[in-house]
C-alpha cells in the first residue's frame, strides 16, 4: 500500500514534468562513457549511507546516486568495470550509523563513499572517514560536522548556507530589517545556522533573533508567539518540512500572513509542500532552493529526470536531495574516468583524485564544485529563491552568491584554486 500510494503521488506530481522533458529531446539518459554497452569487468565497490526512519526519509540522495551508477554500468562502466553501489540505512540511530560505516569501509573495503544523506551519520563518522582515508562525497547533509570537517564534502548547502541565502534575499529584495530565525534546539543544526543569520543581519545594519523549538514539543504556537514578541518583521522557518508546516498553520490561525515576510531554507522546497500549506499561503512564502529549480531547462537537470525515469523506481522521490545525489555520483564518475584505468580500484588513489577535484561545473549548481584539502568544505554557497505560488513554485531570483563573513575562508581557498 505504501508503494501504491507513492507510485500514485509520483505519477500525479511528475508525469507532466518528465513527459515534457523526454519529449523535448528524444535522447536517452547520458551517463559515464556513454557506450550503451553493459560493463562486465571486476566491480568497483562504492558505499553510501542514508537515514530512513521516523522522523524523516533522507534516502532520495542514495536512490538517485544508485540510479546514476546503474546508468553508468549500462554505458560501459568505468573503463569496462561496473560500479557496485552498497547502500546502508542508519535509521536515524547513531549506533547503526557507526556500524554502517565500519561495514562498508572495513568489511566491504569500498573505495569511496558517495551520495550519503543523513541527519546524523556525518557527525558520528567524520572521525572514521579521516582514519580510513576516505573523502566522503555526501549529498544531503544537515549537521555542522558535515561542513566543518576534513574528510566530508557535500553537494547540498545545509541549513547554514540556505538560511543565509534566504535572509540575504529578504534583506535585499523584501526590505527586511529584523529576522526571527525559528530553528530546532539542536546545537549543530538550529543554533549553528540561526547564529550566522543574526551575524549576517547585524553586518547589514539589521537585527536577528533566534527562537529555538524543542523537536519533541507538541506545541509550536508558543515559539511563534515568541517570534512575534521579538518585534521582527521577517519570519525565517529554519525547520524540517513537517514542523515548518505546523508553524505556518499556527500563523494562519492568527492571520499573520500579511504582518510579516515569510522565508524558509530548502526543506520547504518540496513538491508536496504547496498543497500541504494550502491556498492561504499562496504567493506569501519565499523558499531558498540550494540547487537548480526542478523545472530548470539545464542539461544536467533534464538528464537527472531521465536517469531517474529510466533507472530509479517510480516511487523514488524527485527532490533536491535527489538532484544532489545525482550530482555527487556524476562528479565521482567523472573523477574516476579521468584517472588511469589501473588505479580506479585503489582507495588511496581514488580519494586523492576526489580531494583534487576543482572547478567541476553543472547547471544544477550556481558555482563551481571543488574539494581541496581543508578542515571545512562547502563548495555550494550560491542558490535560487522561489515563491510558493499556484500550488507550485515560481523562481523569483536566479543564481546569486551568498555574502557572509562565514564564507571568508571558503572564498580564500577558491581564490587559491583559481575559481574566484
Amino acid at each position: 500500500m505504501k508503494h501504491l500510494i507513492l507510485a500514485g503521488l509520483t505519477a500525479v506530481g511528475l508525469a507532466g514534468l518528465s513527459a515534457t522533458n523526454a519529449a523535448a529531446d528524444g535522447h536517452a539518459a547520458k551517463c559515464g562513457m556513454g557506450t550503451g554497452v553493459q560493463a562486465t569487468g571486476e566491480p568497483i565497490k562504492v558505499g553510501g549511507i542514508h537515514g530512513n526512519a521516523a522522523p524523516g526519509d533522507f534516502s532520495s540522495s542514495t536512490d538517485a546516486a544508485a540510479a546514476y551508477f546503474s546508468c553508468v554500468n549500462a554505458n560501459g562502466g568505468i573503463h569496462g568495470r561496473p560500479i557496485e553501489y552498497l547502500v546502508e540505512n542508519d535509521q536515524w540511530n547513531p549506533e547503526l550509523a557507526g556500524q554502517a560505516a565500519l561495514k562498508l569501509l572495513v568489511d566491504e573495503k569500498v573505495v569511496a563513499m558517495v551520495g550519503n544523506g543523513s541527519f546524523l551519520e556525518m557527525a558520528v563518522n567524520a572521525g572514521t572517514y579521516a582514519e580510513q582515508g576516505i573523502m566522503t562525497m555526501a549529498s544531503a547533509c544537515a549537521v555542522s560536522e558535515c561542513f566543518e570537517s576534513s574528510n566530508i564534502v557535500s553537494t547540498n548547502q545545509g541549513p547554514l548556507a540556505s538560511n543565509i541565502g534566504a535572509a540575504q534575499f529578504a534583506q535585499e529584495e523584501l526590505g527586511s530589517k529584523s529576522v526571527a530565525c525559528i530553528g530546532l534546539a539542536i546545537p549543530n543544526v538550529g543554533t549553528w545556522s540561526c547564529d550566522q543569520v543574526t551575524k549576517l543581519m547585524e553586518s547589514r545594519g539589521g537585527a536577528g533573533h533566534s527562537i529555538f523549538l524543542n523537536p519533541a514539543a507538541p506545541d509550536v504556537n508558543s515559539a511563534l508567539l515568541e517570534a512575534v514578541a521579538t518585534g521582527a518583521d521577517t519570519m525565517l522557518l529554519n525547520l524540517p518540512a513537517g514542523l515548518g508546516i505546523a508553524v505556518l498553520k499556527a500563523a494562519e490561525e492568527q492571520d499573520l500572513r500579511d504582518a510579516y515576510k515569510w522565508i524558509a531554507p530548502t526543506p520547504l522546497y518540496d513538491l508536496s509542500v504547496p498543497e500541504a500549506i494550502g491556498k492561504y499561503w499562496d504567493g506569501a512564502v519565499y523558499v531558498n532552493a540550494e540547487l537548480a529549480p526542478f523545472t530548470d531547462g539545464g542539461a544536467d537537470n533534464k538528464n537527472w529526470i531521465k536517469v531517474m525515469d529510466s533507472y530509479a523506481k517510480a516511487d523514488d522521490p524527485r527532490d533536491s536531495f535527489s538532484q544532489s545525489g545525482y550530482l555527487s555520483a556524476r562528479f565521482f564518475v567523472d573523477t574516476l574516468l579521468a584517472m588511469d584505468a589501473a588505479d580506479v580500484g585503489d582507495r588511496t588513489k581514488v580519494n586523492a583524485a576526489i580531494t583534487a577535484i576543482s572547478g567541476y561545473k553543472s547547471d544544477l549548481l550556481c558555482g563551481p564544485y571543488y574539494v581541496g584539502k581543508a578542515d571545512f568544505h562547502m563548495p555550494n554557497h550560491a542558490g535560487h529563491m522561489v515563491l510558493i505560488k499556484d500550488g507550485g513554485f515560481e523562481v523569483v531570483r536566479d543564481c546569486y552568491d551568498y555574502d557572509s563573513a562565514y564564507f571568508k575562508p571558503h572564498f580564500a581557498i577558491e581564490k587559491e584554486l583559481g575559481l574566484r
Binding site: N89, E95, L120, E145, N188
Partner: protein, 566 residues
C-alpha cells in the same frame, strides 16, 4: 568462603553462563567483522541495562521505565569527564556509574510511597524529563565549559588504554558486562536478595521480619542505576559520542518491554532482550527489510510473552526443560467413585471428567470435598475408578500414587519446623529415583517458582504463615507431579496474600504441566483461577462446568444462600 562458593557452578544455568562468557570473550571478537564487532558492543551495553531493569521487575517487583534515560546520564558523565579531565577511562567508568547510581536512588524515593502502575508512571515521567533535558542541552562533544557542546567538532571519547581497538573494546565491554551480571547475581543470592524476595511478596511481612524496607528499595534502585550508568558509559566509549535520539522515553519503555519478552527472571532473558533490541534490527537492515518490521515483531513478541509466557522466552527455553514434565494427558476421569463410612454415605457415586488445568471443588462444610481428596490419595477405601493419564490411579497403593505424581497439601501446612526450607522440599523427592544434581536442580526450580529462592536455608520454624504455605506449595510442585491437590491453601491468608497465591496456582500448569484440584471456600479465588468447578453438597454433585455457569446454577445459589434443597 560462602561468598566464593556461590560463584561455583552448581546449576546448569551457571554452567551455561560460564561457557557463554568464555565464548563471548575469547572466540566471538576474533571471528566477526568490524560492523558486527560494533553491533555486539552495543548489544552488550544494552544487555547490561536490560539486566538492571529485569532484576528490578523480576526480583523486587518494581517497574522502572527510565532505564535508557539513566543510561543517558551515565553516558553524559563519561563524555564530560573524558573531555574535561585526563582521568583514565576505567576511573571515568566508575564515576559515571556512581553518579547514575545517585540518580537511580533518587528515583527510589517515590518508590517508598508508590507501587505498581503509579511507580511505573512516575518513572515514565522521569524518562520524559531526561529526553527533554538531553534534547535541550545535548551531550558534550569536546567543547569548552560545563556543557561542552561545540558545533563542528567531532572529538570522540577516550577508550581504555588496554582496549583502544574495536575488538579490544568489545572484549572490555564483555568483561564489564559479566562483572555487572555477577554483581546482580551476588546481590540476589545474599542478604539484599532475600529482603527483595520478601518485599515483593508483602511489605508488611518484610517489616515484621525486621527487613529495612527503605534501605532495600533504595539499594535496588541504586543498583539498577549503577548498572545503567555503566551501560551508558560503555556505549559512549563505543560510539565516541552520543545522540539524544538514543535516550528517548519511548526507548526506555521498549527496553523494559523487551526485558519482559526475554524473561525477567533469567540471566539469558537480558541477553535475549539485547539481541532483539540491537541485533535483530541490524539483521533486518542487512537483509534489506523495512526497519518498521522490528516494531511489529517487538509488539507481537510483547503481547505473546505477557499472555502466554510470564517468564519470557528465556523461561520457555531454559525454565524447566531438564526436568520431565508430568501431566495427565488423556484426562482425569472419575467413574462411580463413592465412599461410605459404615452406614453413612460420605460421597455418593460420582461421575465426572476434569479437563481444565485448574479445577475447583467447592461446597459448604461437610459437603464431601475432603473425602473426595482422601479417596484420591487412597487414605479411605472407596469403590469406583479414578483414571488419570492412562493410569488407573484407584488400583495403586497410596505411596505408589505419590510416586506416580499425585501431590497433596493439607489444610494446615504440614512442614517440619526444624528442617530448612530446602530440606523440607527435599523430603518430597527422597523417594524418587533421581540423581543428587537433578534433585538439587528440581528443588531450586520449585523454590524459584514460589519465590523462596532467597530463603532456602532458613529454618521452616522461622517462617510466616504465608511462607509456610509457599513451602507447602513448593513441595507439591517439586519434581514431576501430575496432579496437585490443594486443600484450602488460602485459609487464614490476607486478601493480598490470596491474590499472590492465586497467581502461583495459575502458573502451576505452565510450570510443571500438572493438573491442579483446588478446594477452597474463597469464592473469589476459585472464580479467578479455576477453569471448571465441581460443586458438592451433602456428598452429592450438584453442579459441574465452567465457573460462571456454575455460580449462576440455581442449586448452587440455593446451597450457598441456605435455601432448602429440592
Amino acid at each position: 568462603m560462602d561468598r566464593l562458593a556461590i560463584f561455583m557452578p552448581k546449576t546448569a544455568s551457571a554452567r551455561q553462563a560460564i561457557v557463554f562468557s568464555l565464548l563471548a570473550f575469547f572466540v566471538l571478537p576474533s571471528v566477526i567483522g568490524a560492523q558486527w564487532t560494533n553491533i555486539l558492543t552495543s548489544a552488550a551495553c544494552f544487555a547490561v541495562a536490560a539486566a538492571g531493569v529485569a532484576f528490578l521487575y523480576g526480583r523486587v517487583g518494581m517497574v522502572s521505565l527510565t532505564q535508557v534515560g539513566l543510561m543517558g546520564v551515565g553516558g553524559w558523565v563519561m563524555l564530560r569527564l573524558s573531555h574535561g579531565t585526563d582521568l583514565p577511562f576505567e576511573i571515568n567508568l566508575i564515576l559515571a556509574g556512581g553518579v547514575t547510581m545517585v540518580f537511580g536512588a533518587i528515583l527510589a524515593f517515590p518508590a517508598l510511597r508508590l507501587r505498581g502502575l503509579y511507580l511505573a508512571l512516575i518513572t515514565l515521567m522521569a524518562a520524559g524529563g531526561f529526553e527533554i533535558l538531553f534534547a535541550t542541552y545535548q551531550f558534550p562533544n569536546g567543547g569548552e565549559g560545563f556543557w561542552g557542546v561545540q558545533t563542528g567538532t567531532e572529538v570522540g571519547v577516550r577508550r581504555p588504554t588496554i582496549a583502544t581497538s574495536d575488538t579490544g573494546y568489545l572484549r572490555f565491554t564483555i568483561a564489564v558486562s559479566i562483572a555487572c551480571f555477577l554483581l546482580i547475581e551476588w546481590n540476589r543470592r545474599s542478604k539484599p536478595g532475600r529482603a527483595w524476595a520478601m518485599l515483593r511478596q508483602s511489605e508488611a511481612a518484610a517489616m515484621a521480619a525486621s527487613v529495612n524496607v527503605v534501605f532495600h528499595k533504595l539499594w535496588a534502585f541504586a543498583l539498577s542505576g549503577l548498572i545503567a550508568g555503566f551501560a551508558g558509559a560503555l556505549l559512549a566509549g563505543s560510539i565516541g559520542l552520543l545522540d539524544p535520539s538514543t535516550f528517548r522515553a519511548s526507548e526506555s519503555i521498549l527496553l523494559f518491554a523487551l526485558a519482559i519478552v526475554g524473561g525477567a527472571r533469567f540471566w539469558q532473558g537480558a541477553l535475549i532482550a539485547a539481541v532483539l533490541y540491537r541485533i535483530l534490527p541490524a539483521l533486518l537492515n542487512d537483509w534489506g527489510l523495512d526497519p518498521d518490521l522490528a516494531f511489529i515483531i517487538f509488539g507481537a513478541g510483547l503481547l505473546h510473552a505477557l499472555i502466554t509466557a510470564p517468564d519470557g522466552i528465556a523461561g520457555q527455553i531454559f525454565g524447566n526443560r531438564a526436568v520431565a514434565k508430568g501431566s495427565t494427558d488423556g484426562g482425569l476421569s472419575i467413574a462411580g467413585l463413592s465412599v461410605r463410612y459404615g452406614g453413612v454415605v460420605a460421597l455418593e457415586p460420582l461421575d465426572v471428567s476434569f479437563t481444565k488445568p485448574v479445577v475447583g471443588i467447592i461446597g459448604p462444610n461437610g459437603a464431601g470435598k475432603t473425602t473426595l481428596m482422601n479417596a484420591f490419595s487412597g487414605f479411605v477405601s472407596s469403590t469406583g475408578h479414578i483414571d488419570a493419564g492412562g493410569t488407573r490411579l484407584s488400583s495403586l497403593a497410596p505411596h505408589k500414587r505419590s510416586q506416580w505424581g499425585l501431590r497433596r497439601s493439607f489444610q494446615k501446612a504440614e512442614i517440619a519446623e526444624d528442617l530448612s526450607v530446602r530440606q523440607n522440599i527435599q523430603v518430597q523427592l527422597d523417594g524418587a529415583k533421581i540423581s543428587a544434581s537433578e534433585r538439587d536442580k528440581a528443588i531450586s526450580i520449585a523454590l524459584d517458582f514460589v519465590g523462596l529462592d532467597g530463603q532456602q536455608d532458613t529454618l521452616a520454624g522461622q517462617l510466616s504463615g504465608f511462607e509456610r504455605r509457599l513451602v507447602d506449595l513448593a513441595k507439591a510442585v517439586v519434581g514431576s507431579p501430575r496432579i496437585v491437590m490443594l486443600d484450602e491453601p488460602a485459609g487464614g491468608l490476607s486478601s493480598d496474600e490470596t491474590e499472590k497465591l492465586g497467581d502461583l496456582i495459575l502458573g502451576i500448569h505452565a510450570h510443571c504441566g500438572a493438573q491442579t484440584l483446588l478446594i477452597d471456600h474463597d469464592v473469589d479465588l476459585v472464580k479467578r483461577v479455576c477453569g471448571e468447578t465441581l460443586v458438592l453438597n451433602f456428598g452429592r454433585k450438584i453442579a459441574f462446568g465452567p465457573v460462571q455457569e456454575v455460580f449462576t446454577h440455581p442449586d448452587v445459589v440455593a446451597a450457598y444462600l441456605g435455601g432448602s434443597e429440592k
